[in-house]
Symmetry: C2
């Protein structure tokens, strides 16, 4: 890192590529000689429409999104989609929800307002320490869709397979989107908050099979109705322009990393190095079982809460910040999103080893 | 303007104070030596919470918002509030809507999904060229609230009085908030999209009397329920952090302009200079009747559509950009938001006079 920056392991909002921030800074006052900042552009101006279109095209190309699916750039976060998805897709019927963490649990609870929810699984009894096997999923016969969260930011678990279901697949990819290729054609809807792997908080990307739109419940706000949003190409009202611009810069940067294919290799190696420390140690205890572990969020503990606190403090003194676990789980968590350089993971590994030597009894 | 910037008369997203952009640029890579950008901060970190709290406090102090009212920093734009307001306040009853332009019309239409809407007025028959007098408002006896839009961005009209009503006052102040003092205690709810006088697009500020919350319709998304949002201090989920930070910078800048009291003097004089050209001319025709004119958006025409188009083109060549009228109205529109320096208005006035001389027949 240059410019006296730290390695930021926050779970989101989180680290952005330094090159992206530098470009945003350099273009801040006067974007490409147009005399104004991107933040000042009318969303319907040619200048901004060019940014919008090229970002969308770049996103489509990066994830090889088929023409059957539309890409929407929305506001409101994943939390608004917890309601938006059932409002649009449930049609008063039943949906299967796989609860493997905090946010899938919240999504299931919100969906109950709009129809019947069947819990296809709930890993809460063992502290969400794993992703269930396909055979463990209890599917209902008449589900409109099957909902899951691909990566559980708080618990540090990640689905390493796409579930086979008898209904439309809906997936919250907020914390692992753009970290690997995805077969989008298998999904009815994928969505993600931007603030982990894509852009600053304030943008939610929804990838939706267009054939699913047009069945929103009558009380659905117009700006949450996918058919309206598709028709207006995300511009029924003013979109979060700055975040869309930042996503475009991130996609440009991602191309220099080999796209999602290149990023998959990087993120696997980056996470492998940290998990290796955990597995080679009797001092650190990882939270999630092998086979269910996230490449994005690594959760673990030292032998005591006092040492956990010392770890957070000493890490920060070494320029490794935001490694405290979520308040629900306690312990430690290091988030290794796309923008985390390998040097950041190596600095963390070095610190973890030294900390263990210093504090092991 | 320095840095080869233009005078941007766009209706929103729109011009931001140059000093605000410069500060954002200078703090971009490393905010106050914390080693990261504001865009990378966890919304629950102490660093960001300080930004959040001081912005909120500054906003409260600037508009002298009483403790009876909560300030919410939300996403989704005014359009999401078109649904959110009736979902929270209508309780299945009736609301009075004053339709004086495009957005109040859209708000009234959206509210019909949630209860009964009475049109207290509709100025559409005369092209929304004026604001009705108090005596013209048709109020229903049992309204839950009276809704109006303080400033009509597209048509260029503005309410210069607060309506007297027998129900809770609700006002969309998207395009004139922070341009003058407001007696907030007279309102049940005030809201505004940020992208005109406050910050980049992606933030909606809601000022709500706390006693009105807690009656949301059962299908209201959790993240749209004012009582939930109040309880979580706008952080049920990740807020639009960057826009909140930018609002804080704008409020700091506004203090240097004498706050909303100082800004009121500035904006009146700024608009007066442009309206003077219109009223002294037989070439330009203003759209809105005297007494109903907006200080923020000035709408007018030349003698022909061809000359309107020439005006837009020649103005741009003179560094005065985005003066084309909305596609609904045609004609010309110059938006003079808080961030427009008096020099920008003067440059516009000079250009208007020269254009008239060149093209008057």
């Amino acid at each position: 890192m240059t410019e006296n920056r730290v390695y930021n392991f926050a779970p989101g909002p989180s680290i952005l590529p330094e090159e992206v921030l530098q470009r945003a800074r350099d273009e801040m006052m006067n974007y490409r000689s147009c005399g104004m900042s991107v933040m000042e552009m009318s969303h319907r101006s040619k200048m901004f429409m060019d940014i919008f279109s090229s970002t969308k095209e770049s996103f489509r190309s990066m994830l090889r999104i088929p023409d059957t699916h539309e890409i929407l750039f929305l506001q409101g976060g994943a939390t608004l989609q917890f309601a938006g998805i059932p409002m649009n897709l449930l049609r008063g019927g039943t949906a299967d929800y796989a609860v493997t963490g905090n946010f899938s649990g919240k999504a299931a609870k919100e969906a109950e307002k709009y129809g019947k929810v069947n819990l296809a699984c709930d890993t809460g009894a063992t502290g969400h320490d794993r992703i269930p096997a396909q055979s463990e999923l209890k599917l209902s016969s008449d589900a409109r869709y099957f909902y899951y969260c691909a990566n559980n930011t708080i618990y540090g678990s990640e689905w390493h397979y796409i579930p086979e279901t008898n209904s439309t697949l809906v997936c919250d990819m907020s914390s692992d989107i753009l970290s690997q290729p995805v077969d989008v054609s298998r999904y009815g809807l994928i969505y993600a908050g931007a603030q982990k792997n894509m852009a600053p908080a304030g943008l939610t990307v929804v990838i939706v099979d267009k054939s699913l739109a047009g069945h929103a419940m009558p009380f659905t706000p117009e700006v949450m109705d996918y058919s309206v949003l598709i028709k207006h190409d995300s511009m029924l009202n003013t979109p979060p322009c700055w975040c869309i611009y930042m996503l475009g810069l991130t996609l440009d940067w991602l191309k220099t990393q080999g796209g999602v294919e290149g990023m998959e290799e990087i993120k696997r190696e980056r996470a492998r190095r940290v998990y290796a420390v955990l597995d080679d140690s009797s001092f650190y205890r990882p939270h999630v079982l092998p086979g269910s572990r996230s490449d994005m969020n690594i959760t673990f503990r030292t032998p005591s809460e006092e040492l956990d606190a010392a770890f957070v403090k000493e890490a920060a003194a070494n320029g490794l910040v935001n490694v405290k676990g979520h308040r629900i789980t306690g312990g430690l968590r290091t988030s290794l999103y796309n923008a985390m350089p390998m040097e950041g993971a190596d600095a963390l590994v070095k610190f973890m080893k030294e900390f263990e030597v210093r504090h092991h009894v």
